[in-house]
């Protein structure tokens, strides 16, 4: 079913866009995927990038009939066979564009949270598959407030965490672990566009500084005892920079921020194991300021 010219406006840390998806069902899914960035109105201030997602074409685009495509400011970017993969690509394109727009911030492959009883921002740093999302969700069940899941943006001068309410990507194993810990019924892991998208409440709004950085080891076994290993500044800086996508094009700002982080944040390598035990160890670290080893 088609909605005529329904246009929604979004703001991702100043990157503003207008999104038009005439298909009602696709529009609803996209609205849910980008809900954290939704603007109620376009106040007309600043440049707006125009995105259109549709399967309607006039034959001039040279793409197969029935395929979906994304155009940005009237220029075709790519096309896809299904609306699901189109919306996944749309979300990724919008987020990447916003990150480029905010190259003035320090970007980090990490989740970021803050404990409800603390003003210490916590970074969970690691490559894909290292367990950031799993641990972030488990900490959220203990009341931690979340800033971000996959990429964290940090103000270089103050080290403040910027709220970036992007949908989480939750795979089946993460979902199973989190459900074992007692995920509430309101956490719906089965919402479109795909079963691995999840929209938790992004409820951290106060800009706290990052004070703890945990670098997750990828190869950990769920039955092992978790360990925290303090890191020397040089090793912590190296790990931050290896997880900083802005390094190739904003080198000076990136290494300066990394140096500042290592000076003001407690940095540890985290060998996570049993999820409950890992959560308890992190909570103890935050609450008491002691190493967990």
């Amino acid at each position: 079913m088609e909605n005529e010219a329904m246009i929604d406006h979004y703001d991702l840390l100043g990157y503003r866009l207008a999104l038009s998806i005439p298909d009602a069902e696709a529009h609803a899914v996209a609205a849910r995927m980008l809900a954290g960035f939704r603007l109620n109105t376009d106040d007309g201030m600043g440049p707006v990038t125009r995105y259109v997602v549709t399967d309607k074409q006039d034959g001039s685009l040279h793409i197969p009939d029935g395929c979906w495509y994304i155009s940005v400011n009237d220029a075709l970017t790519d096309w896809y066979y299904t609306i699901a993969e189109t919306l996944v690509a749309l979300e990724r394109l919008i987020v990447n564009s916003a990150l480029i727009f905010r190259a003035d911030l320090f970007h980090l492959h990490s989740a970021a949270l803050v404990a409800p009883f603390s003003e210490q921002g916590i970074l969970l740093v690691g490559e894909s598959g290292s367990g950031k999302t799993t641990l972030a969700l488990a900490l959220m069940l203990r009341g931690f407030l979340v800033y971000s899941d996959d990429v964290t943006l940090i103000t270089p001068t103050t080290l403040a965490l910027e709220p970036f309410p992007r949908a989480f990507r939750v795979d089946a194993s993460t979902r199973a672990l989190v459900e074992q810990l007692g995920a509430p019924p309101t956490w719906d892991f089965d919402m479109p566009p795909g079963s691995d998208y999840f929209f938790p409440p992004h409820n951290a709004v106060a800009r706290v500084a990052a004070r703890i950085a945990l670098f997750l080891d990828r190869d950990c076994q769920p039955d092992q005892t978790p360990r925290l290993i303090p890191l020397a500044p040089a090793e912590a800086a190296r790990l931050l920079l290896m997880n900083a996508p802005t390094l190739p094009y904003a080198g000076a700002l990136t290494i300066a921020t990394a140096a500042r982080l290592t000076a003001s944040a407690r940095c540890y390598r985290l060998q996570s194991g049993d999820l409950r035990a890992t959560v308890e160890m992190v909570m103890a670290l935050v609450a008491e300021g002691r190493d967990g080893t």
Partner: protein
């Protein structure tokens, strides 16, 4: 992502090959450096997409690579800080040679 390694000053068996006293090592324009709070230093070679960390002593050597100080002068500065250390001059030359070979220092003045 960038590779990284650590350059330190430590005894080893290689011969120093840089080292005319009238040469003035200069930091490459491709390199960003940042001092960490424990005295170590991290170097980013933006042209090679490579990271290097320096221990505190190597960081001092690096700071003197400003096109104004000869290797002998740099070694003399390190000698003042560590008057009882053995092989300071050789180790400074080895470090400088390493940094030149890996393009962290230019050899315009060499």
């Amino acid at each position: 992502m960038a590779s990284s390694h650590t350059a330190a000053i430590a005894p080893n068996e290689r011969e120093a090959t840089v080292a005319e006293s009238n040469e003035r090592p200069q930091k490459s324009a491709c390199v960003h450096d940042e001092l960490l709070h424990d005295g170590t230093m991290i170097l980013l070679h933006s042209c090679k997409h490579e990271l290097m960390t320096l221990n505190p002593t190597a960081a001092i050597v690096w700071e003197y690579c400003d096109g104004e100080h000869s290797p002998d002068a740099i070694a003399a500065e390190i000698r003042e800080v560590f008057p009882d250390a053995a092989h300071v001059e050789d180790e400074v030359m080895i470090l400088l040679q390493q940094l030149i070979e890996q393009n962290y220092l230019t050899d315009e003045n060499l």
